[in-house]
């Protein structure tokens, strides 16, 4: 264990923020789905990895740049999510109880299929700039990280725009705030649920595309990512998008710092520590609402 110099510290900070932006995109779908439907989509990690594999296939097949592939993967996943919610999940009787296991079953099915098709070899998408680094004011900034950060922010901004200014988006926000009140003013729950789930899965596609060029992945990675994105949304406050952004940045930075100061192999533990600490000290997270007490 060695304390970093100021330069290394700032370097790590920058890297942490860049990575945090991508984490925020990955977690956004999960927190949105929870905010509206009050369920944790345990298949979220599997969707991320599915997105990563799809990007990988597109890259191998037609050399499509992973960032550009978002244009294809997002609409595809949006449709997929919409259909899934509309025709499968909506038929579940007791969503609060059974949705966890149903989504977990889905995650297992996906992991198994991906493993059967792609084997468990670690994959990664390596566009031409995958090893390129920019040097800005003596700080080394990997191009993939920077590109990922920018793209993540763009997608998050689009998401924000949709939620703030479109009719459906406002309906989603109203439902998060107060589902009963929203229903009273005419919001259709089934429509909002389908739209939200679709949005959540679509952002997973984008997150997966970015993931594919920043990390290595295999089918089993889906479990890691579920745990990490859950840690982010718990810290940020479940259902809060701004919270997810803040939490993702914090965790991104903490993760990088731990990698430098302690060791790379210990860095994932940051997520779990924060998850548990949040649950002990402030269960509603940074920006979540105190869960309405039992009544």
């Amino acid at each position: 264990m060695s304390l970093p110099s100021t330069h290394l510290f700032i370097q790590t900070l920058i890297l942490g923020i860049l990575v945090g932006g991508v984490y925020a995109l990955m977690a956004s779908g999960l927190t949105l789905i929870f905010g509206v439907m009050k369920v944790i989509n345990v298949a979220h990690g599997a969707f991320l990895i599915l997105g990563a594999y799809l990007t990988y296939v597109l890259f191998q097949w037609i050399k499509l740049d992973p960032i550009l592939s978002i244009v294809i993967t997002m609409p595809l996943f949006f449709l997929f999510g919409w259909l899934l919610q509309r025709y499968v999940f909506s038929r579940i009787e007791n969503p609060e109880q059974t949705s966890v296991l149903v989504t977990f079953a889905l995650a297992l099915i996906l992991e198994g299929l991906l493993g059967a098709i792609f084997q468990t070899t670690a994959r990664s998408v390596t566009p031409s700039y995958s090893t390129a680094t920019l040097i800005i004011a003596t700080y080394r900034i990997p191009v993939t990280r920077l590109a990922g950060f920018v793209v993540a922010l763009v997608v998050l901004l689009i998401l924000y725009y949709i939620l703030q200014y479109t009719r459906l988006g406002r309906a989603v926000r109203a439902t998060i705030q107060d589902p009963r009140a929203a229903q009273l003013v005419g919001v259709k729950v089934s429509m909002v649920s389908a739209f939200t789930f679709a949005l959540g899965v679509a952002t997973a596609a984008a997150g997966g595309s970015l993931l594919s060029m920043i990390y290595t992945f295999n089918p089993a990675s889906q479990g890691d990512w579920v745990a990490k994105t859950l840690a982010i949304i718990v810290l940020g406050g479940m259902g809060s998008l701004p919270g997810a952004l803040v939490a993702a940045l914090i965790l991104g930075v903490m993760e990088q710092l731990t990698a430098i100061v302690i060791s790379l192999y210990w860095s994932p533990i940051v997520f779990y520590i924060f998850l548990f600490l949040t649950l002990i000290v402030r269960p509603q997270g940074l920006m979540g609402e105190v869960i309405r007490e039992k009544g």
């Binding site: 705030q177 107060d178 309405r292 007490e293 039992k294 009544g295």
Partner: protein
């Protein structure tokens, strides 16, 4: 010194103040009514007293000791039982099982004890007989009629001999015969020493049963007194009429 006193209790949800600096006192041995138009904060106050909500401001004292901030199970141990506006039972359990779920106090020996103890069963049957439901002891709770379920809910609460019971709309959705039965029951228990605080919309029940009545409107106490005072209080009439006027305006 009142048995239960809530002082300057406030509770907000989001931007809405459900209970606004409300103070009520329940005298020992009384049947106190809590009335007011819909949305006046009655059930919120109930939930605060019984530990389901945490208050933002104020105190709730039972026998001069603070109970605000305690969890519902501790409050039950302190001697306050409650029923729910929408009856809550363990639907798939039998009536008898519902009766023996309540826990008076903690103890490892009690936890591990097997089956139903004789004294528990005796007491449960005694209470079931009091409400006339002893024949249903082995029926699943969900098979009973609505009114019968309400009686079971009350009987189960009585298992721990609470000193005070909060009834949340005991006459809600119940037929007149059952209402009479419940009023007799409450009166009977009250004669034997149980204090009652009840939220109710049925005015006849409130005026006949309650010795003291507190009126809430928009989260604040606007009046209190005996039945006669309340019936003739212009503020009370306005609160109810006002709410009817509003209801008429939006239809």
């Amino acid at each position: 010194m009142p048995m239960l006193s809530a002082s300057n209790v406030s509770k907000s949800f989001g931007g809405i103040k459900a209970v606004d600096s409300c103070s009520i006192a329940v005298e020992r041995g009384s049947i106190t009514g809590l009335i007011g138009p819909n949305g006046s904060g009655k059930t919120t106050l109930f939930n605060i007293i019984t530990g389901f909500y945490t208050l933002d401001e104020g105190t709730v004292l039972l026998e001069e000791k603070p109970i605000h901030g305690l969890k519902p199970n501790r409050i039950y141990h302190r001697g306050i039982g409650r029923t729910f506006q929408i009856t809550r039972l363990f639907w798939k359990m039998t009536v008898l099982e519902n009766m023996i779920v309540p826990v008076k106090q903690l103890g490892l020996r009690t936890l591990m004890s097997q089956g139903v103890k004789n004294y528990e069963e005796e007491k449960a049957m005694e209470l079931l007989e009091m409400v006339g439901l002893e024949k249903f002891r082995n029926e699943e709770a969900r098979k009973l009629s609505f009114g019968q379920q309400k009686l079971v809910e009350l009987a189960a609460v009585l298992m721990s001999d609470p000193a005070m019971i909060l009834l949340d709309e005991p006459a809600g959705g119940v037929n007149p015969v059952m209402i009479e039965k419940m009023m007799d029951l409450v009166d009977d228990l009250n004669q034997k020493g149980t204090t009652f605080l009840l939220v109710e919309h049925n005015m006849r029940l409130v005026m006949e049963l309650c010795q003291h009545i507190v009126v809430l409107d928009h989260g604040q106490k606007i009046a209190e007194g005996g039945p006669a005072d309340i019936q003739n209080n212009p503020l009370v009439l306005e609160a109810y009429l006002g709410s009817t006027q509003n209801a008429n305006a939006t239809t």
